[in-house]
Symmetry: C2
C-alpha cells in the first residue's frame, strides 16, 4: 500500500535556485532510500516554510525515513518539524489522476 509522507518546517531559506544548489546532493541520496518512489520539494518564502511530499511503498519505509530525516533536520537546527504519514486511497486518487499507482 503506497503511503504519503508530508513534512514541513520553518526555515529562513535558502529558497529557489539557491535551495536547489544547496540540496542537490541530498536529493540524489534520497533516491536510494528504501521504498522511496518520488518527492515533491516544497517551499514558501513568504511563510518562511519548506518541506516535501514523498511517496513510499509502505507505511514502514515512510516511517523509517521520517525518523531519519527528523534527526537530520535537528542537526540543521530545525526541530519544529510537522511530519505526517497517510495511506493513499487509491480508488479516489485514480479518479483525480494522482501519480501513485504502479511499481516504484
Amino acid at each position: 500500500m503506497p503511503c504519503v509522507l508530508q513534512m514541513d518546517f520553518p526555515t529562513d531559506g535558502p529558497f529557489g535556485a539557491a535551495m536547489a544548489e544547496a540540496f542537490a546532493e541530498l536529493a540524489e541520496s534520497i533516491n536510494d532510500e528504501p521504498g522511496f518512489r518520488w518527492k515533491v520539494w516544497t517551499e514558501n518564502r513568504d511563510a518562511g516554510e519548506a518541506g516535501g511530499i514523498y511517496l513510499f511503498d509502505s507505511y514502514e519505509t515512510a516511517q523509517r525515513y521520517l525518523d531519519k530525516h527528523t534527526e537530520r533536520l535537528s542537526g540543521f537546527g530545525i526541530s519544529a518539524v510537522n511530519g505526517k504519514i497517510f495511506e493513499v486511497n487509491e480508488a479516489l486518487s485514480a479518479i483525480n489522476h494522482a501519480p501513485v499507482s504502479g511499481e516504484s
Copy 2:
C-alpha cells in the same frame, strides 16, 4: 509555477472503500476545478485523520480551491483544517522523479 496544496483534518471516517464510495462524486467534480492537475487522497484510520495532496497550476488557483474546500468541510462539521500552499522547487523535484512538470 505549479503549487502544492496540502490539507489534512481530523475525521471519524469513512475510510478505505467506504470513503471511496462516499466521495466518488466529489472527486469527479474536483477534476473541473480551475488550474487543477491531480490529487492524492490521504487517510489514516489510526490517527483519525484524512486529507489530500493537490497539484495546481498556480498559487492563485490553489488558494481559491483551499478557500472553497475549507468552507465545504465546515459544512460537514470539520473546522480544524490544516491547509498549506507551497511552490514547487522544480529542479530538486526533477532529481526525485516528482510528477510535477509538463502541462495540466
